[in-house]
Structure formats: structure tokens, C-alpha cells
């Protein structure tokens, strides 16, 4: 089930058969079911590895991410970071775990407190993590602002978030995630709220920081066209499961799962010829996570669905080519 890495690097994060279910209650009591947001996800990330989690809204990307950040308690399964199992940490250890993971939010404007200036925003994590010396704090703020290319820092420190452009705000969010020198960064759609002209700039900045500090980055996105500039591997998520995992180029050139193929077909490049034809889109909408379909969760929308198999049994991960895993019965070895 787990992915091997090419060279034996240290495993930083390991997710084992993770389930995150939210209970549904009627009138505040009495269980009536649960939303199975993450339902049996396993993977391993080595130190310095970048991975993109691709999926539509409601597929469980955010629940997966929040569980990794320690904001959700998993229903079952384990999140193991640097040899420590999150579910066994006490409050103090959990706090120090949070210093080792950084979080880049989707919408920089709502992620930055409007009543704090940039200096206060960047200083707060340092105060909480116990950096007592004011001069040292300021020093680290200046350094991290240089890292995110906000020159000179003095011009920005006294400003409030609304005085900055969207791209600058997102740089502050990245600086805040970086300031405690984490090992792992979770970036949740970091560029989807930004203008086309600055998107690439922010992605390149994140990429440069990742290489410089050998960071492990989980890049959550729905935009397949930005993935190849950033991550080494792609995980495709659908209705709470990872349905395809593979090395970025191989997956983009040779998608295996019918859902991945549909996602790639729906991604447009700017080309006037697009207007001459219709796009092929699988019918229907993603299933409810309260009562997901039996068997493969994509089968009601899939044109290759095999009755008696796809609607009965959940497909395991097959490996039709090395290091490329797909949960689809089409690739069952004969």
C-alpha cells in the first residue's frame, strides 16, 4: 500500500489507514450517521519531498490536511510524524508538534488578523514558542521577510494587512508559516485567490524555499496545470479516498484512473480552438459522503464501470507500472 521512495530517505510523515468521520446528530443528540470525509488513506512522505493532493471540493482534502496539522482527531488510523504518533502526544508535545508544521491558508486576506500589523502578526508565533528576546525576534522577522522577498522589511512592518496587495499578503502568510522553521508545510490552495500574474511568482517562491530548506510540502489544489511546477508526486483524491498516486510527469502523461482522465480533460490551456468543441465531462456529481456508493465510489459516473465488480467490491491499489498506484478494477492483473 505504501509508496517506496527511490533513494532511502528518512520518512518524515506516515499516514496509516486514516479515517476521519464526522458524526451527524439529529437535534443535537442521537447519532443518525456520519460524514466519511477521509476513509482509509495511507501514504508516506520522505523528508524534503513535495506532493500535491488534487481533488474537487468536498472530496476530503481539507479534512485530511486538518488531521495532519493536528486540528482534527482521527476516527481511526495513525498520523506518525518524525516517529511520533500524534494520537499519543500529550498537550505539551502537541504544542511543540505545531511548531514543526507550517500552514499556508487559501485566502490570505481572511487568514491575517485585520487589527494586527505585520510585525505583530509575525512576532506572535515567536512569542508563543518562547523566544524571549525582542531583538532576536525582530532579527528573525527581518530574515524571514527577506526569504519571502519583501524588501525592505521596514516598509512593511508597520503596515496592516489591508494595505498590502494580494500577492504581498500571501507572502506574509508564507513568512508566518516559515518563521518557526518547520519541517513540514501544508499549503492549502495557496494561489487560487490570487491573480494570474502573481500566481506563478508565489509558486516559484514556495518552490525556492522548499529547495533551500529541504522542506516537506503538501500542496493541496484543484488546478492540475500548476502541479508540475511544484511537486514531485501527485495524489488524486475522490470521495474520501486516494484513487491514484504517482510521480507527477508520469501521472500527467499517462493517467490511469478514469476520474483522473476526466480531470485532465477538463483542464483547459488557452487556445482559441477550445471554443469549437464540447468538453467531455462525466455525468452527475460527487457522491454524498454520508452514504457513499458501494464498491468503487466513482462507478456511478464512470463510463468503464463493470457491473458486478465495480458496484460491489472496493478496488485495492494496483500497480500497473512501477511507482504508479491506482485504485481501479480496470488494472486488475489477469
Amino acid at each position: 500500500m505504501t509508496l517506496k521512495t527511490e533513494e532511502p530517505r528518512e520518512i518524515l510523515l506516515s499516514i496509516r489507514d486514516l479515517h476521519v468521520w464526522y458524526e451527524l446528530r439529529r437535534f443535537g443528540f442521537g447519532r443518525v450517521g456520519s460524514v466519511k470525509a477521509v476513509d482509509g488513506v495511507s501514504f508516506e512522505l520522505a523528508e524534503g519531498e513535495t506532493v500535491a493532493v488534487v481533488g474537487e471540493s468536498g472530496c476530503g482534502k481539507s479534512s485530511l490536511m486538518k488531521t495532519i496539522l493536528g486540528l482534527n482527531i482521527p476516527t481511526s488510523g495513525d498520523v506518525v510524524f518524525d516517529g511520533k504518533n500524534l494520537s499519543q502526544l500529550n498537550n505539551k508535545d502537541m504544542r511543540s508538534y505545531r511548531f514543526e508544521v507550517g500552514y499556508v491558508q487559501q485566502d490570505p486576506y481572511s487568514a491575517l488578523p485585520p487589527f494586527m500589523n505585520i510585525e505583530q502578526i509575525l512576532e506572535e508565533p515567536l512569542i508563543i514558542s518562547g523566544v524571549k528576546n525582542k531583538a532576536e525576534r525582530l532579527d528573525r522577522i527581518r530574515k524571514v521577510m527577506g526569504e519571502v522577498k519583501l524588501h525592505p522589511p521596514e516598509d512593511f512592518l508597520t503596515k496592516f494587512p489591508h494595505m498590502l496587495s494580494g500577492g504581498q499578503q500571501q507572502r506574509i502568510v508564507i513568512a508566518r508559516a516559515m518563521i518557526l522553521e518547520p519541517k513540514l508545510i501544508v499549503a492549502d490552495e495557496p494561489v487560487s485567490m490570487l491573480d494570474a500574474s502573481v500566481r506563478v511568482e508565489i509558486l516559484k517562491l514556495l518552490h525556492a524555499l522548499q529547495e533551500k530548506y529541504n522542506l516537506t510540502v503538501i500542496y493541496i489544489t484543484h488546478d492540475l496545470s500548476t502541479v508540475k511546477y511544484f511537486s514531485a508526486r501527485i495524489f488524486v483524491m475522490y470521495a474520501g479516498n486516494l484513487i491514484e498516486k504517482g510521480e507527477t510527469r508520469r501521472l500527467l502523461e499517462n493517467p490511469l484512473h478514469p476520474y483522473t482522465m476526466a480531470l485532465l480533460a477538463a483542464t483547459s490551456d488557452p487556445d482559441a480552438r477550445n471554443a469549437d468543441s464540447f468538453k467531455e465531462v462525466p455525468p452527475g456529481e460527487p457522491p454524498s459522503l454520508v452514504n457513499p456508493p458501494k464498491g468503487c465510489r466513482f462507478h456511478p459516473r464512470c463510463s468503464h464501470s463493470m457491473p458486478g465488480l465495480c458496484d460491489e467490491k472496493f478496488p485495492p491499489d494496483f500497480e500497473p507500472e512501477p511507482e504508479h498506484f491506482v485504485a481501479c478494477w480496470l488494472y486488475q492483473p489477469k
Binding site: 474537487e56 506563478v200 516559484k204 488546478d223 496545470s225 480533460a265 487556445d271 471554443a275
Partner: protein, 320 residues
């Protein structure tokens, strides 16, 4: 009066300035373009370049702090800017052109069934009875791909994509010849986006409607575009047919904007545009893009006119 055959809309020197406590924001500053029947023009630009203000100026949905609102907007030969507000409401809005506002799926009234909402403009503008308008609503739901029993549902019972289709059905139901779409797909998922673009293409073929599509998403816009207009700092800097524009944009801003698009099917390394768009309160004299332009020269301190190159137009001294 202009009445070239096939011409649906001609905008000349449209201006919309807002008054704020800090000064006058020149959101739309002298926009010209034409649109023919059954064509789609895409207005592309970064946020804050005046795209949404342009849609408001066209539909005359103005806030109170308007400083200046002038120009000529000929819709099917009539200058609608000459009409007073009541005439405009009766004869232009909904009947002549309608708007699908930004985040339209959240603009539906949460306490009305969608069938009632969509039939309201029909009853008001076409004077039909409730039963007759519901019949029209059914027809329109078929066009946009909403199941007919959804008329009895409330907006919260629909997914984002379905709500967007309902908003589109509402704009279409009075059969206007022109629909202005403000960022119709920006908040939707990838597959839903592709679905909505398919619906728009089908409507264009089946009903012969024209579209003004306002967006910053260049890749998705190419799904519908016949013409492209690039907007920068309140002005249109380049117009042309999509088939000419996408392979070879002329204005340096258009070129850089196109180069910044990450592509799935090509190995090109996307670039970014350094600097920021100018403030619309105090736009620079001369070419507004000059400060960020790698090709600027002395001439750029004067404002360039629109130079015509075949059937393309570009506001840049390089093409003089």
C-alpha cells in the same frame, strides 16, 4: 445612429468614475468596443482593473458615489445612455441585456423556490401569467440542464453548479440578445466549470445569444471566446479575434499575461509580471502599463491611441 448589419452592441468612450473619501477612482476610463450578434467577447484583466465596474456601467447598476458616468452604448441601434432610469429598466435590463453577477450562486434569494425566482422577471417584463412563465422556466431549465422538478426546490438544496445554472436560466428566461457574465466559473470545481462552459456554448448555438464574459481566467475563457478584449487600469488595451489573439498577442501586457498562464500540455516555464497595476485614483500619464513594461521608450510618456492592425486593435506605441 449606427446600424451596421449584424452589429448588436457598440460602446464608445464609456466612462465610470467613483467618488471616494480619498479621491476619484477612474474605474472605467474610456472603453470602446463592438460586438456582433451571436458572438462572445471575453474581457480579460487582473483584479482591480475595472472589469466588474464595466459590467455595472453596461447594466446601469450603479452605487450612489458615482462621480462621472458618460459615453455611448448603442444596443441594437439605440443609444441606451439617453434613456432615463425608468425607460432603461423597462426596455433594456432583462429584455435587452441581462447580467449573471459575480458569485451568482450566492445571489439567489434563499427563501424563494428557484422556480418562483426565475419566473419573476418573466412576469414583470413580459407580462405573462404565473402558469405561462413557469412553462418558459421549464423550457429554459432544459436548455441549461437543470432537472425540471428543481423548480420546487430552495437554493440551499442545490449544488453550486446547479445554482449557477439556475442563475444563468434566470438571465436567459426573458430572451435578451446579450448576456453579461461576471466571473461565471470562478468559485466552481473543475468538472463543474467544464460543464458550465459546455452549457454556455450550447446556448450560444441553440438560442443565438451573445455574451460578454468578464473573467481573469484566461484558459477557461478560451472555451467561449470569439473576440478578446484585454483590460488594464480602466482601459481596453487590445482587442482582436480569439483565433488571432491566443497564438500571438500584440500588447506587451497581453503577452506577459499569456506567458503567466501555467499550461498543462506544454513545457513552457510560466513567467510573472513584476510590479503592480497602478492606482486608479491617480493613473500615470501616458501609457498606463509603461512602469511595468520591458519595452518602454520615450514615446510611452504620451498616451497611445488605439492603433488598427487589420481587424485587431492595440493601444501601444510599438505598433504605431
Amino acid at each position: 445612429m449606427n446600424n451596421t448589419p449584424g452589429e448588436l452592441l457598440r460602446i464608445k468612450n464609456l466612462v465610470l468614475h467613483f467618488k471616494t473619501t480619498f479621491g476619484v477612482v477612474q474605474a472605467v476610463d474610456g472603453v470602446d468596443f463592438e460586438l456582433h450578434t451571436n458572438r462572445a467577447v471575453v474581457i480579460l484583466g487582473e483584479s482591480g482593473c475595472g472589469k466588474t465596474s464595466l459590467s455595472k456601467a453596461l447594466l446601469r447598476l450603479l452605487p450612489r458615489n458615482v462621480e462621472k458616468y458618460s459615453g455611448e452604448v448603442f444596443l441594437q441601434g439605440t443609444d441606451v445612455m439617453m434613456l432615463d432610469d425608468e425607460e432603461y429598466r423597462q426596455n433594456v435590463r432583462w429584455v435587452g441585456m441581462s447580467l449573471v453577477p459575480q458569485a451568482a450562486m450566492n445571489a439567489l434569494n434563499p427563501v424563494l423556490k428557484v422556480g418562483d425566482q426565475v419566473s419573476e422577471p418573466v412576469m414583470i417584463h413580459l407580462g405573462l401569467s404565473k402558469a405561462e412563465s413557469l412553462h418558459l422556466v421549464h423550457k429554459m431549465f432544459q436548455h441549461v440542464g437543470v432537472p425540471l422538478d428543481f423548480v420546487e426546490r430552495y437554493p440551499f438544496e442545490l449544488s453550486g453548479g446547479m445554482r449557477q445554472r439556475v442563475a444563468l436560466a434566470m438571465a436567459l428566461v426573458t430572451s435578451p440578445s446579450l448576456i453579461v457574465l461576471d466571473e461565471p466559473t470562478s468559485a466552481l470545481d473543475l468538472l463543474t466549470q467544464a460543464n458550465i462552459m459546455n452549457v454556455l456554448k450550447r446556448i450560444k448555438h441553440e438560442l443565438g445569444t451573445s455574451f460578454i464574459l468578464i473573467t481573469h481566467d484566461i484558459a477557461t475563457s478560451s472555451e467561449l471566446a470569439d473576440e478578446v478584449a484585454i483590460m488594464y487600469a480602466g482601459q481596453i488595451v487590445e482587442t482582436g479575434h480569439a483565433k488571432d489573439f491566443f497564438p500571438a498577442p500584440l500588447h506587451p501586457y497581453s503577452q506577459m499575461l499569456m506567458a503567466s498562464v501555467p499550461r498543462l500540455r506544454s513545457e513552457s516555464d510560466p513567467m510573472f509580471i513584476t510590479g503592480q497595476p497602478p492606482s486608479l485614483m491617480n493613473p500615470p500619464k501616458g501609457c498606463r502599463f509603461a512602469a511595468r513594461c520591458p519595452f518602454r521608450f520615450e514615446k510611452c510618456s504620451e498616451e497611445p491611441p488605439m492603433f488598427e492592425k487589420g481587424n485587431r486593435k492595440v493601444k501601444c506605441w510599438l505598433h504605431a
